[in-house]
Amino acid sequence: MNNSMNKKIGFALLYGILLIAAVLAPFGLYPVFLMKMLCFALFACAFNLLIGYTGLLSFGHAAFFGAAGYVAGQALKAWGLPTELGLLLGTITGALIGLVIGLLAIRRQGIYFTMITLALAQMLFFVALQAPFTGGEDGLQGIPRGKLLGFIDLSSDLNLYYLVLAIAVAGLALIVRIIHSPFGQVLKAIKENEPRAISLGYDVDRYKLLAFVLSAALTGLAGATKALVLGFETLTDAHWSMSGLVILMTLVGGLGTIAGPIVGAVIIIMLENKLGDIGNWLASVTSIDWFNTLGDSVTIVTGFIFIVCVLAFRRGIVGEILHLFKRSSGASH
């Protein structure tokens, strides 16, 4: 009893410190880079709602992420809508595509579900490649940031940073709320034992679909925000390798943990960004010239991390820490 009280206070303190750090971060670090991280953290958390708490592995989340970015970009650039509406439209786009893909994919279980989401997302990729407004290979360029509520100028990186931080924190809070709600408990029951959840009278397909749509909508929000931050949207965001990347972030951080996907997103984005430097350093230490090209070969490194995580590190960083924590507190009893 006392122990769980302490634990709660500990977590509250930890989250408080993290939030203060996030508020102060843009004074020390490059804000656009931080915003990109926040967008990916929200993306990975939304993805984790499915894999970690419902047990559904979607290989098609790039579809929601990319499509929302394109729609938000188009709304802000071509239709001249206010920023808030652009983000909202992106979120709705994510939800609607999630509804269509979800309705089809939940008709099959397990590994088939994964293959269906991958195939349908690939179909959307081809649509994005051919549709006139996406700009094909060039992407959608020059998305204006606009003004929040008509008077806060978002062209200042600092203002935009706090908007993105607010969006990410609100999204995370919603996810935590969903996980701890009765609805979230049913999702967990489906993950642990689907036939049993059915025999208890739950309409499993409806729960799965709702979880899928929620995850897609939040992914859409993340995608739309990212398009707003960077000012452009390209095919990379809709490509299957983006779906793979978000799986990797979640896996590295820890499937089914709340903080895991955030940690994973931060690590993977930093790695992508710093890989060139790491390669140069490795080259100077080992005097193997090949390492100098490491920055151009991100996929080799991400593939390697995938293999290591799956073989030896399936709990992820946060999962591993929680496991140690549990074992030590279990031993003291």
Partner: protein, 294 residues
């Protein structure tokens, strides 16, 4: 001569190209199905191993001067051996876990191998010329048949149906089918199931590499040729269901042909038509055309 306003020659040549693609779909989905049946692993790396097959053939020719016909035998053996190493050192540890880890591991292998080939050879394709004996075309009167494409279709159909024969009609195939149903019981009868699993994976991989060698002269050999294909093959597998060998072969060929016809009548849809068919099949017959839900 015209049919539906399309010159017959164009229609037939697209149909043939569809059959060629269909044979690749058939061989890859067949391998995926055999591997999934026994290992319960969806081999994401299948497309990459197909790419490795094509590259092995290309490397063999341009560095060592080994001709197409030798590589048609050597490349599947080399890549199959690579597959066996993957199975022995990595996949083996995942059988008791959720299916998704097998998929993620093979996805990681895909990224790594593809990344390495991209960093060495770039993304542009390497040309591989058609072997001398199969160059040129035969005039059949109603169409001009490129010899090499006809050979691809005949060779892959032969391999596919031999595989079907071995699995459905021989003693070895009976062990394999029994292992798919209940590996523990098969092991109790004194059959070395782990060895069977390794060889099955090696065989599925060799099949993908064989398809890769066949494909090398048709399309340019490039590091990206596999991952683009594997997603279509996944859709093929969802449409056909992995329950039946013959089903995988027929679905693969059929979808190749449909794709070819779409390229004639409505080219904008040719990249997506397989996915659209998948969506329709999921609505009407969720278990797939030949599927038994496993």
């Amino acid at each position: 001569m015209e049919l539906f306003g399309i010159p017959l020659q164009a229609l037939l040549s697209q149909l043939l190209l569809g059959l060629v693609n269909g044979s690749f779909y058939a061989m890859l989905s067949l391998g995926l199905a055999v591997i999934f049946g026994l290992l319960n692993v969806i081999n994401f790396a299948h497309g990459t191993l197909y790419m490795l097959g094509a590259f092995t053939a290309w490397i063999g020719l341009s560095y060592f001067g080994i001709n197409y016909w030798w590589m048609l035998i050597l490349a599947p053996l080399i890549v199959g051996l690579f597959g066996i190493i993957i199975e022995k050192t990595m996949l083996r540890w995942l059988y008791k876990l959720d299916h998704l880890y097998g998929l993620l591991l093979t996805f990681g292998i895909t990224l790594m191998v593809e990344g390495i080939f991209r960093s060495v050879y770039g993304v542009s394709g390497q040309p591989y010329s058609v072997p001398e004996a199969l160059q040129g075309a035969t005039n059949l009167g109603f169409m001009v048949l490129p010899n090499y494409r006809a050979w691809v279709v005949v060779a892959s159909l032969t391999v596919c149906f031999s595989t079907w024969f071995v699995i459905e009609k021989t003693r070895l195939g009976a062990y394999l089918r029994a292992g798919t149903e209940n590996p523990k019981l098969v092991e109790a009868f004194g059959i070395n199931v782990p060895l069977m699993v390794t060889l099955t994976y090696g065989f599925g991989v060799a099949l993908a590499a064989f398809a890769g060698v066949l494909a090398a002269p048709v399309i340019q050999v490039s590091p990206l040729m596999g991952s683009n294909l594997i997603i279509v093959v996944f859709a093929v597998v969802v449409i056909g269901g992995m329950g039946s060998i013959l089903g995988s072969i027929l679905t693969g060929l059929g979808l190749g042909v449909i794709e070819g016809l779409t390229r004639v009548f409505y080219p904008e849809l040719s990249a997506t038509v397989v996915f659209i068919i998948m969506a329709i099949v999921l609505m009407i017959r969720p278990a797939g055309l030949f599927g038994k839900e496993k």
